[in-house]
């Protein structure tokens, strides 16, 4: 499964439309990663551009902070799982996801 995490200053971006970079990871189906995660730096903050990227990349799960309902609905319609409202470091969020422990609205210990 391809997972995308929205990032801002090494944490999950508090708002989907404010993400300045993203991390794309692929799990190996055994609680690990199939390859080194990729970092993609966005030229500017834009929920539309980010949505395009998510669809083009074939992402199956988005891990983010707050997200507008319209984008949430769009991803659901595209059969993309959204784990939103996550607060904390993006690396920890990925680890929790791989362990099957990440839930919407979760505040991680690494949260500033």
């Amino acid at each position: 499964m391809k997972i995308l995490l929205t990032v801002q200053e090494n944490s999950i971006a508090p708002r989907f439309d404010q993400a300045s970079e993203v991390m794309i990871a692929e799990d190996d189906g055994q609680a690990g990663l199939a390859a080194e995660p990729r970092t993609i730096i966005l030229p500017y903050r834009s929920a539309e551009e980010l949505s395009d990227l998510i669809v083009k990349e074939g992402v199956q799960c988005v891990i983010c902070g707050g997200i507008e309902e319209s984008f949430h609905k769009f991803f659901t319609w595209k059969k993309i799982t959204v784990i939103d409202g996550v607060i904390g470091g993006h690396t920890e969020a990925l680890q929790r996801f791989l362990a099957g422990e990440l839930r919407p609205g979760m505040v991680l210990p690494s949260a500033k």
Partner: protein, 132 residues
Amino acid sequence: MQAIKVLIVDTEMEFTSILTDRLCSWGFAATAANSFEEALAAQATLAPDVAVIVLRDRDGRGLDLMHLLKANDPAVQVILLFCKGSAIAGMRGMERGAADCIPLPLELRVLIESIRKVTGSNHSIENEESAP
């Protein structure tokens, strides 16, 4: 081994700041410039090996900067990053001497490989375990 010196030029401060941080964490000596003037001043003091210039507009004003940087130091390698709508400017840049041209959004790994390629460093990112 001396770190490869990279000058990143873009009017968007957030973009240059993030990219500078990321490249520094990969062992490059990266510096940001947010205007032509800053870029030329940084070139004079730092003598970068590579200049990464973001083309954000269709007229490709960044190509003028490339021309100036290369006039000051013909050895500097220029990598152009182009936004949607600036691909033609990127192609013109390649014709005028840019070493590489990469689309935005920017995949960090692609830029790192490009910097290493244009500077003749054959160290592959695939062989590194220290990915931040």
